[in-house]
């Protein structure tokens, strides 16, 4: 999954909705084997950035490459490279967890191996007990885990997680952290948005701050420097974490 190209390379990336600019010339480089935590106030463009990286929205300007593929022009060719978790689960309430996972496994072209791959990710995320329950009937924490399982079913080299801690309990958070660590060791990369400083600095090896549609700070993440990071954040955004 690693290559000479960086995982993400954005230069002057812009996105407008109608006349409203959300991303205003954003620059970002992310190599392989790295987890970037993205902080920023609401409305800074975090979700829009992830949606653009995921190929859900077309950039209005600038250049964006994912694993060397032009993600602005050839969005179809980056879809299998990314795994996405957003606020919504992307699961069907009236299908069981197993059915949901099998459906997405088919969509990602896993074919006959889809069933065993679904069982494998479910096992890793502690979903074994609820595989045959309808999504509607399981707890929010379990739904969130199932959403995560859905996102990684096709072994994407780039993970995009939008505030994944929302709705996750302690155990699930631990499962997510170990999944991210494994992912990184395997050479994969991830971008995680969050509001939790300690958590964010722990899972990431880099931390960036997004403000007004631009990356205003980008540096190494160190969980022991949370207070320093809070100060930096306040300097750049005028807000508090």
């Amino acid at each position: 999954m690693t290559s000479i190209h960086s995982a993400v390379s954005a230069a002057g990336l812009a996105k407008r909705f109608g006349a409203r600019p959300v991303l205003r010339g954003l620059d970002l480089e992310l190599g392989w084997g790295s987890v970037l935590t993205l902080f920023g106030p609401n409305g800074a463009g975090k979700t829009t950035l992830l949606r653009t990286l995921a190929g859900l929205t077309r950039p209005s300007g600038g250049a964006l490459h994912i694993a060397g593929v032009d993600a602005g022009r050839r969005r179809a060719d980056v879809r299998h490279l990314v795994g996405v978790v957003m606020h919504q689960t992307f699961l069907y309430d009236d299908l069981t967890v197993a059915e949901n996972l099998r459906f997405y496994a088919r969509m990602y072209g896993l074919g006959a191996s889809g069933g065993s791959r679904a069982a494998e990710v479910a096992e890793a995320l502690g979903l074994g007990g609820v595989m045959n329950a309808r999504v509607r009937t399981i707890s929010n924490g379990m739904q969130k885990r199932a959403a995560l399982a859905r996102a990684v079913i096709h072994r994407p080299p780039l993970l995009l997680l939008d505030e994944p801690e929302t709705g996750l309990d302690q155990d699930a958070m631990a499962a997510l952290e170990s999944l991210l660590a494994q992912h990184r060791e395997g050479g994969g990369s991830a971008i995680v948005t969050t509001h939790g400083v300690e958590q964010g600095l722990r899972v990431g090896d880099r931390a960036a701050i997004l403000h007004g549609g631009r990356v205003v700070y980008d540096g190494p993440a160190d969980a022991s420097e949370a207070d320093t990071f809070r100060r930096i954040y306040a300097e750049h955004t005028g807000g508090e974490l």
């Binding site: 407008r16 909705f17 109608g18 006349a19 409203r20 600019p21 007004g212």
Partner: protein, 226 residues
């Protein structure tokens, strides 16, 4: 600016000429009498309305192809003017139908097609109003602009097989040989030119206005809030 001014002058001049010829030059129809003169307004409105929808379709394809905002502005403007012209065409048609056929409305192929066409592009304007603003509305409208225009000949076929009591068209593939006297033909042609020029002028004005609206909106974000 100069282009729009000259289009205004051209359509104004042609419109006056068409009006004069309609009432002073063209002879009164032997069968239909004075009411036939509405023909010089009604049919050009229909033809130019249809031209407007063709412009919508072409610019919709152009917009989806190139993503150029200008194409979208032209498509939107053409749809508005097309609906205006088609509405006037339906009204003048009814005004003419009453003295000519004794009824306001009939389910002839042309009338049915025109009415469905009118609904199609009213739906187009509604879609633009109700869709999320910006690119989404533009993309949705472009898809409808293409689907709608492809639909028109199918609607016409269906309506034609369905009922056929409308007088034949005087132009185009279904034209009857020398249906009109030469003086009537000349008046008709001048009238078509006048309405086409009017359409071109309105289109240029409306497109420019849309461009300015978008620009103003952008400036509001750049210099205003945020």
């Amino acid at each position: 600016m100069t282009v729009r001014m000259s289009l205004l002058g051209l359509s104004g001049g042609l419109m006056l000429a068409a009006l004069g010829m309609t009432f002073l030059y063209a002879p009164t129809d032997a069968v239909l009498g004075i009411s036939q003169r509405i023909f010089y307004v009604h049919v050009p409105l229909a033809l130019v309305g249809f031209l407007a929808f063709a412009v919508v379709a072409v610019c919709s394809i152009g917009y989806l192809w190139k993503g150029s905002e200008r194409m979208d502005n032209v498509a939107y403007a053409a749809a508005e003017i097309g609906v205006l012209f088609t509405s006037l065409m339906l009204i003048t048609g009814m005004l003419w139908a009453k003295p000519a056929w004794g009824v306001w409305w009939s389910l002839s192929p042309q009338l049915t097609t025109s009415l469905i066409l009118w609904f199609l592009y009213v739906a187009y304007l509604m879609l633009r109003a109700y869709a999320p603003p910006g690119e989404t509305a533009a993309r949705y409208a472009a898809v409808l602009g293409i689907i709608g225009f492809i639909d028109v000949p199918i609607v016409y076929m269906a309506a034609r097989w369905w009922r056929d009591l409308h007088p034949n068209k005087v132009l185009g593939p279904l034209a009857e040989e020398s249906a009109l006297e030469p003086s009537m033909q000349i008046t008709f042609l001048v009238s078509i030119l006048a309405f086409t020029a009017l359409f071109a002028w309105l289109l240029a004005e409306r497109t420019e206005l849309r461009r300015q609206e978008t620009q103003l909106e952008r400036m509001r974000y750049t210099y205003g809030q945020a």
